[in-house]
């Protein structure tokens, strides 16, 4: 692939390892998708043990994110913060995970208390770690404590062996470390495919937006590639625990590793979707060609592509960074699934990509991506319309262990602060944050990795930067609140939600913070007008977050649900739900577990975990109504510049929706009226959605609702009672 060779001296690495703990466990096959045990590892005390999974835990929490949250709840106190030793990083997968038949079945769900939000973050990530951990014998790994010196946790799923050892010589940056892990633990070339490492990078040591990289070895490229558990700073937690890597090795994957109850149905359902993807993807989403980057031109067309810190939704230069531009850069014709059997194959990568900045300048590397979110965040939102620059930002974010979404959104905030004079060269140590300045954007990232300069301030993330700019640079608090695009402390992902009230809710009510994986309702709401009333919107903001939560309970990817649709989907009763695909999920769940789930009970599984997560946020002092309020930039025009850029639209809304004649009014006045109207609408939305979800007007799940869904556990009710008093 014409990459610069990474030389690994295995003997030199091994010579410096110090074994701290070794633990042997009994190998047992997976039964109907479950191991019924989890793995506990404490890197303070070096304790390693198995924990049984009770039948009740399975019933209430299902798996994946449900297991991760349950283990986290039991491990922490009401006052635990992200960098306390008792905070955990829990990686779980779920019963469907690891099957090789149905596209998108290899996801791991990572849960931890976030350094950005002080509440649980959950992140859904590809790569081979979750499935291999499962087939090694565990439904989750729970990592607690803080090591004194850098350690690696190694799980050998064929030997039934777990080790913790000091690893001072290994790299921290993920693209090197992942290669080193493959060289260290694979006994031959074939085994490289059987290794997966979880790691972060040097950036995660100095910033709160650290991500985790999950590796998957690409036999054709001969490269250990990386997928990210991006959101919420879990990479920061990993490095705070002084963990360089968590590594699993498992050989022996087969088409029945999950011990499915009905192999034929599993195979048939998977093959049906494979065929659908092969037949329709070229005309629908082009995932196999260019992955999620196909969205760039669609979002631009609908005025949804975040541009200049979400001020606008399109830009004249966006064709320079659309899917066709990236198509030129990535390698084609390879089966780019991040787990075996995913024919959607959206995990695109460029090879032999020559870096022009930073510590790896001049080297040729494989860059995983960019995905749409990275193009939006590190491209249009910061005014960078240079595809190679976006690729380089993508590469360094990954290897440094930084979340491209948070990095993009917070850099957009920095650039607007520069534009508005809040920042200047004196305050940034000479960095110039004019829109589109990719060199200084990268330099800021290198500063983060080195732990110096303005990079340290930027690495705090948007919420803490707002406070910093108010305290140190006398910034206007209202302006900071309006244009710093975070909610609950997490940076927004890359869609303009101004014209979709439902999406404003989808973002800002999302339990972990504004990530679109709970709900993406913009087309239903804004484009197709399918959910016009508050009741409609509330129903959508109930159903879709619950349905999408289920992916996280099972170890599934969302994309094969609706990024390919059956040819007759538009003729079904509820096209937005993609009914045939929902039935597929019910079928494969039953085929693997031997269960008897239906579409309604699927939602119930999610509701239990969703409400549990909500109450966990409340237990940690958050989860309040006030935590669900977006910054106004995500709800409408903050500035006259924005208003006037779409004046016809906003004037029309004043006339038709607000009942105010815009004629003769100044832009400032119209802005005020529109803002007041939209803020009021949002409060109505909150009322309607909370009611539909079975919560009080303060967003507290009622005991009756918890009883109804079977989540009336004593510890949950105790927290709720405290908040109802």
């Amino acid at each position: 692939m014409n990459n610069t060779k990474i030389h690994t001296d295995v003997d030199a690495l091994k010579a410096r390892h110090v074994l701290l703990k070794e633990f042997r466990y009994e190998l047992r096959p997976v039964v109907r998708g479950y191991n019924m045990r989890t793995l506990y590892v404490n890197v303070s005390s070096n304790e390693i043990r198995e924990k049984p999974v009770s039948e009740e835990m399975k019933q209430k929490f299902t798996g994946g994110k449900g297991f991760g949250l349950k283990l986290l709840w039991d491990a922490i106190s009401d006052t635990t913060r992200w960098n306390d030793p008792e905070n955990e990083i829990n990686i779980a997968m779920g019963p469907i995970c690891g099957n090789t038949n149905y596209p998108g079945s290899g996801k791991s769900l990572v849960v931890s208390i976030s350094p950005l939000t002080d509440i649980p973050i959950d992140s859904n990530v590809g790569g081979y770690f979750g499935p291999y951990l499962k087939f090694s014998g565990f439904d989750a790994i729970e990592i607690q404590g803080k090591a004194e010196r850098d350690v690696i946790v190694y799980i050998d799923g064929n030997q039934g062996l777990i080790q913790i050892f000091e690893a001072p010589a290994e790299a921290v940056d993920s693209h090197i470390l992942a290669e080193q892990m493959v060289e260290l633990f694979a006994d031959n070339d074939l085994e490289k495919m059987h290794i997966s490492a979880v790691s972060a990078g040097r950036g995660a040591e100095h910033a709160l937006i650290g991500c985790l990289n999950f590796s998957f070895y690409d036999r054709r490229r001969k490269v250990a590639r990386l997928k990210q558990a991006g959101r919420g700073g879990i990479g920061t937690v990993l490095r705070d625990k002084k963990i360089k890597a968590v590594v699993v090795k498992y050989s022996g994957l087969s088409g029945k590793s999950n011990d499915p109850a009905d192999l034929d149905t599993l195979q048939r359902t998977g093959l049906k979707l494979h065929k659908e993807i092969i037949a329709l993807d070229d005309q629908q989403c082009r995932m196999r060609q260019i992955g999620t980057a196909h969205l760039v031109e669609i979002m631009d067309e609908y005025d949804l592509l975040p541009t200049h810190n979400f001020k606008f939704g399109r830009h004249a230069d966006s064709p320079k960074i659309n899917s066709h531009a990236f198509y030129e850069l990535v390698t084609h014709g390879l089966p780019d699934g991040c787990w075996f059997g995913c024919t959607m194959a959206c995990a695109k990568a460029a090879d032999g990509f020559e870096l022009v900045t930073g510590p790896y300048q001049g080297q040729r590397v494989t860059v995983d991506g960019p995905e749409y979110e990275t193009v939006g965040g590190c491209g249009s939102n910061v005014g960078i319309f240079n595809p190679r620059a976006i690729m380089e930002i993508n590469f360094y974010c990954d290897t440094y262990g930084l979340d491209t979404i948070s990095f993009g959104t917070m850099t957009a905030f920095i650039m607007e602060c520069w534009e508005k004079g809040v920042l200047n060269a004196e305050r940034t140590g000479g960095l110039d944050f004019t829109w589109g300045n990719w060199r200084d954007t990268l330099e800021m990232m290198h500063q983060i990795a080195r732990g110096e300069g303005f990079g340290l301030i930027a690495g705090l993330g948007t919420r803490k930067m707002k406070e910093y700019f108010i305290d140190h640079f006398d910034a206007d608090p209202q302006l900071m609140q309006d244009i710093g695009c975070e909610c609950k402390g997490l940076e927004y992902s890359q869609y303009v939600s101004k014209e979709s009230l439902a999406q404003q809710g989808g973002y800002s009510m999302a339990l972990k913070g504004p990530q679109h994986d709970e709900a993406w309702l913009i087309f239903m709401d804004m484009v197709n007008n399918q959910i016009p009333t508050f009741t409609d919107k509330a129903e959508a903001l109930h159903y879709f977050p619950m349905f999408r939560t289920w992916f996280g309970l099972q170890g599934l990817c969302k994309l094969p649900w609706n990024d390919v649709e059956p040819a007759n989907n538009a003729q079904t009763d509820e096209p937005a739900k993609v009914p045939e695909h929902v039935q597929n999920y019910v079928d494969i769940y039953n085929a693997i577990t031997g269960g008897n789930l239906n579409k309604k009970e699927l939602i119930l599984q999610s509701e239990r975990v969703y409400n549990f997560q909500k109450v966990l946020c409340m237990r940690l002092g958050r989860g309040r109504r006030s935590d669900d309020i977006p910054p106004f930039r995500m709800m409408g025009p903050v500035t006259v510049e924005e208003y006037e850029s779409r004046q016809d639209r906003y004037d029309q809304q004043l006339r038709e929706k607000v009942g105010v004649d815009p004629a003769g009014k100044s832009s400032e006045e119209k802005l005020r009226i529109l803002r007041h109207y939209r803020e009021e609408q949002y409060q109505h939305l909150l009322n309607a959605v909370y009611k539909r979800k079975g919560w009080t007007s303060e967003g507290v799940p009622t005991p009756e609702h918890l009883r109804k869904i079977g989540m009336d556990l004593p510890e949950v009710l105790a927290v709720v009672e405290r908040h109802l008093r």
Binding site: S254, G255, L271, G333, P335, F340, G341, T343
Partner: protein, 130 residues
Amino acid sequence: MKYLKTYDEKCIGCNQCMTACSMAFFKEDIPAKSAIQVIEKPDGGYHLVVCDQQYRKCVDECPTQAITINKQGVVMINKKLCISCFACVAVCPIDAMRRCDGVLNPFKCVACGVCVKGCPTQAIEIVTEE
């Protein structure tokens, strides 16, 4: 390249080839388990579906590189590497890569020629082309 050449116009639909194939590889006579399929055409006559060893889309699609081309040019599946995802079945443009209930892995014609002897009309033959 070695492959099973078919002559649809000679086929009489006796299914002897399917029996031979299924018996050879699965020890039982089940038409769905044959790597060659005799399809009755709506307007009369038969169409023989079998791997021509040419398209090789399965080779590119296989995530574990379990599918390779041997020295004779025949597309082969290494069952030790196959993880039964059936992506190969989905991408095959002529439906020659097969899946059958009760069988863990995909299967296909390996140009062994066992079916040829049983064909009463010489509708199939093993040929080797450069």
